[in-house]
Symmetry: C2
Amino acid sequence: MSHSLIDQLTEAFRCLPGIGPKSAQRMVWHLLERDREGGKKLASTMVEAMQRVDHCQQCHNFSEDEICTICSSASRDDTLLCVVESPADVLAIEQSGSFRGKYFVTMGNLSPIDGIGPDEIGADALLTRSSQQVVEVILAMSSTVEGEATAHYLGELLKAGDVTVSRIAHGIPIGGELEYVDGGTLTHALQGRKTI
Amino acid sequence: MSHSLIDQLTEAFRCLPGIGPKSAQRMVWHLLERDREGGKKLASTMVEAMQRVDHCQQCHNFSEDEICTICSSASRDDTLLCVVESPADVLAIEQSGSFRGKYFVTMGNLSPIDGIGPDEIGADALLTRSSQQVVEVILAMSSTVEGEATAHYLGELLKAGDVTVSRIAHGIPIGGELEYVDGGTLTHALQGRKTI
């Protein structure tokens, strides 16, 4: 049984994030027993995506076109640029419907220990991008140690240019009860209080 | 963004068991960003498996050959036949190393409400199979309502022939503490006690 096609497929499924041997085995049996058509469709779409999806030349998000739909949209505000860590963050902000500017995706945070420096997150490209029409750059990295470090680095870099640099607000989440919010968030929320 | 290749791939991933929209999205981004080679390999293995893997003609387990390696093995006991619900059960018994006979996989239990009757679980094929060399048929279905019903049905069917029919033992799991074992299992364990 050691090198059967079933074992090879189970092994191949392990390349997916969060999939261990048991889940992989279950996926293989499910496809073989119940959804061979689904499996074939998944395989062909995967081949096409692996070949054709690249990064948008302007915002670095994933795109099958040279310039993605958001970057090429004429109805969006070219003067506002939101810098995020990942495609998931673009999706989250788009779903909130609260932002009509454009994006720049760093595809990760600075992490010298992993060899991820300014080049890897596209610092130069961001600098070039923010010198075109952009009036304000919003740094929307996560509030983690790596996110804050990246935001700080990019902030210093961008402030040398002719743009306003801002950081998204930190505070109590909407609907969040004060007693369950952690100390760090409370400190930020109090320091960032606004007069009403 | 509605019908981009990325969205199509995310949608296609939903055919896998236990994969919701968020996990599917994460898989797509992971493959695109970190493991395109893995994705291509997964896709090609999947296509090959969907086309070439069928059921073993003798035991009905998945196999790329007409007769699977277990069924065609000369070193296994042809007189002992173990009937299980799924390929996972074959794997579990094989890994325990405690059985050297052959198998028959029903690929599910009787479930009239889902249209799964004797034909779907291969009752006739099992009857034919057990009339060849087989001396004892061990019914190793799960101890669920469906498993018990299937075992009962197949037991009655097989007893008409010239074979001994047995059911795997139910009782306290090895290493299991008595106080944490459920009442049904305890009842079975007491009724099935052995003189030592």
